[in-house]
């Protein structure tokens, strides 16, 4: 009888300890105060938001999602400061200005708030704990490699760059030139840049085509706006001219996907905004749980895939699978679990 009582007591105490321990480690979903901020309504941010909504469904944790009124750091500061005042403890933010955003982050971190960059990196050193998004350089390298392949490693390229004051533009430009330098029969014969709108992009790309219509064999675009603009110009060009100009763009705007489906352009690099959203808030949660960044774990690359006519209906599944793999690899590559 005495032995049975001791056994029962042991079972009860073990259960209580395990339960208490579990309860202490796992917060109530309502205790996580995570916020997400994007500068303006945009298909890219909408896709990121969908990834966050999927994460909310999987975890039962609600994320406050806010979209700004204009793409300026000032507007971002105002919105994020208001959210911080409401008690949010971890932020997933797209930095409106890669340098100026660090000022906002410094203030947040001083108040014990975690910041995770999504979609774009801030200038380093940065108070942000992580960056979740595309490996800009790798995507540009892959895009250039793909265009060279489409050209049969022989031909002339028009290199279309977006905003020249963006440091990422320089990274992309260098990556493209690095790849082209590998192939002696591939040349960049024209460059257009400093494009802030689709209208401006259309005008500049068409001017460049007019200048070297016989010589240009391929066009590479490494930004959203210029890809949409080039898609419109090349779609029109291919409907009226016999010559076919090879094309590699970036992002999966509906108008770009439509042109790929209709065979008017070749391919685009689809970033993984869904995965970027999903992983960025998972990282926020882990930071709130006490996980810490590994020394070389700052960048969590969300991956990218090429969209062609062949995989246009299935590429999203590829991105979801990629996201789950990246999520599983966080502990190995980017974050240390909390110490017991």
């Amino acid at each position: 009888m005495k032995k049975l009582s001791i056994l029962l007591l042991t079972v009860v105490l073990t259960t209580v300890f395990v339960w208490v321990g579990f309860a202490a480690g796992q917060k109530n979903p309502a205790e996580y105060k995570i916020a997400w901020f994007a500068p303006i309504p945009h298909p890219y941010f909408d896709a990121v938001k969908k990834g966050i909504e999927a994460w909310e469904k999987d975890t039962g944790i609600e994320v406050k999602k806010v979209i700004g009124q204009e793409w300026t750091q000032k507007n971002e500061n105002e919105n994020v400061e208001a959210l911080a005042a409401l008690g949010y403890k971890a932020f997933s933010i797209y930095p409106a200005d890669p340098t100026a955003a660090n000022g906002l982050y410094e203030e947040l971190v001083e108040h014990g708030i975690y910041v995770v960059n999504f979609g774009a990196k801030t200038t380093e050193p940065t108070p942000a704990s992580f960056y979740v998004g595309t490996d800009i350089r790798q995507a540009a390298l892959d895009a250039a490699e793909k265009l060279c392949e489409l050209l049969g490693y022989r031909g002339n390229i028009l290199n279309v760059l977006e905003i020249i004051e963006d440091v990422n533009t320089i990274v992309r430009d260098k990556a493209i030139k690095e790849v082209v330098a590998k192939y002696p029969d591939v040349h960049i014969i024209g460059e257009v840049a400093d494009i802030k709108s689709v209208e401006e992009g259309m005008e500049k790309i068409q001017n460049a085509l007019a200048a070297q219509i016989e010589e240009i064999d391929g066009v590479i675009c490494t930004g959203f706006t210029i890809t949409v603009a080039a898609t419109i110009i090349l779609s029109e060009f291919h409907e009226t001219q016999e010559k076919y100009i090879r094309f590699v763009g970036i992002d999966d705007d509906p108008s770009v996907l439509k042109a790929i489906r209709e065979g008017l352009i070749d391919t685009t690099v689809a970033q993984n905004p869904w995965g970027t959203g999903y992983i960025s808030v998972e990282v926020c949660k882990r930071l709130l749980d006490g996980w810490t960044p590994k020394p070389d774990g700052y960048s969590v690359y969300a991956g990218h895939v090429f969209v062609t006519k062949r995989n246009i209906d299935t590429y999203f599944d590829e991105l979801v699978n990629l996201t789950m793999d990246i999520g599983e690899g966080l502990e190995n590559k980017n974050m240390n679990p909390p110490k017991e």
């Binding site: 298909p43 024209g190 709108s197 689709v198 209208e199 001017n207 070297q212 219509i213 509906p254 439509k258």
Partner: protein, 340 residues
């Protein structure tokens, strides 16, 4: 006296009088558009000689189409500048028309003709809204249209969430992409629009009253003109032309991009003012608006054709604009010295 005459709108009878008095060549100097026209001719010669691609059919079509697109935007701005006001929401109204067209064609399944009519009505209503705020509430046009710029842009993003409407029928792109007699339909539409401006300000009482309002609001009011109604109507017309520009962009792009119009503001002022529309009001010229559009498009086109360094492009653009304006100052100087 001469300077005064030079700085204001010349009547047709005054132009005829000048021609008879001083002969054709000298009478050219009288006209404010002469300077910008001379600058355009110089640029045409320089680019034709410097780039063999400049006079190709593809490039001429391309340049003519861009000129037309800019001219509509400039007309929308010039119509309120001439009355002594300004419309900062020109691009936002254009964006509203773009989204309206796309929404009613793509989402509601309306025929393009009906969608266009609704879009134009939206433009008229937006212009009327601006006009009512300015004339009935008495708010300065800068402040009023700055506020509505945000209102209209917010509506655009609220409706679209940043996504474009892509299911625009191919037949709808004929106006924006095809042409007749070697020039795009857009160009011929622009000719009609500029003809309307010429007629309005030379043969209609409303046009003369609007010029008078821009010259001196109080003097016009004292002469018995309902100045508020004139200003209101100028904003309605401005909204209409901004909407026409928006609809034509949809036709050209083959999709309705919600970001359309965001960079129209500076260009609308630049073309209107370079084309001789006095920023203080009281002066407008259809030929000047055409030449203002031509010079901006020519410079951008020529810089790319000549392959200038992309990082210095804006510098060249600014310098050539300064050169064009200087040519006009030289014209004015000789005009005064000739004592015409």
């Amino acid at each position: 006296m001469h300077v005064k005459k030079h700085n204001r709108q010349l009547t047709l009878s005054e132009r005829r009088e000048d021609f008879v008095k001083v002969g054709f060549l000298k009478s050219l100097l009288v006209h404010p558009e002469a300077g910008i026209t001379i600058a355009v001719v110089i640029l045409l010669i320089v680019f034709s000689v410097a780039s063999p691609s400049f006079l190709t059919a593809y490039n001429i079509f391309n340049v003519a189409r861009n000129v037309a697109s800019y001219a509509f935007i400039a007309i929308a701005q010039a119509l309120v500048i001439v009355g002594g006001g300004m419309n900062l929401s020109v691009g936002a109204i254009g964006g509203l028309a773009v989204v309206t067209t796309g929404y009613f064609i793509d989402v509601q399944g309306f025929s393009p003709a009906i969608a266009v009519i609704i879009a134009l009505l939206v433009g008229l209503a937006a212009g009327a809204f601006n006009g009512v705020i300015i004339t009935k509430i008495g708010i300065n046009s800068f402040v009023a249209t700055l506020a509505t710029l945000f209102v209209f842009t917010g509506i655009v993003y609220g409706i679209t969430k940043g996504y474009p409407y892509i299911n625009i029928p191919k037949s709808f792109t004929i106006i924006g992409r095809k042409g007749i007699w070697g020039l795009p339909y857009l160009f011929w539409l622009m000719v009609v629009a500029l003809g309307f401006i010429f007629y309005l300000f030379n043969f209609r009482r409303f046009g003369r009253w609007l010029l008078a309002t821009g010259g001196s609001k109080e003097a016009t009011r004292v002469s018995g003109v309902n100045v508020d109604r004139i200003i209101l109507l100028s904003h309605v017309l401005s909204g209409l032309f901004a909407a026409i520009a928006g609809v034509l962009w949809v036709s050209r792009m083959g999709s309705a991009q919600p970001a359309t119009g965001q960079d129209w503001l500076i260009i609308s002022f630049a073309i209107a003012i370079i084309g001789g529309t006095a920023l203080s009001g009281g002066s407008i010229s259809a030929l000047g608006l055409l030449m203002g559009s031509v010079i901006i498009v020519l410079i951008r086109n020529g810089l790319i054709l000549l392959g200038v360094n992309i990082y210095f492009e804006q510098t060249y653009l600014g310098l050539i604009i300064l050169l064009a304006v200087t040519v006009d100052r030289i014209r004015a100087f000789y005009y005064q010295r000739a004592g015409i």
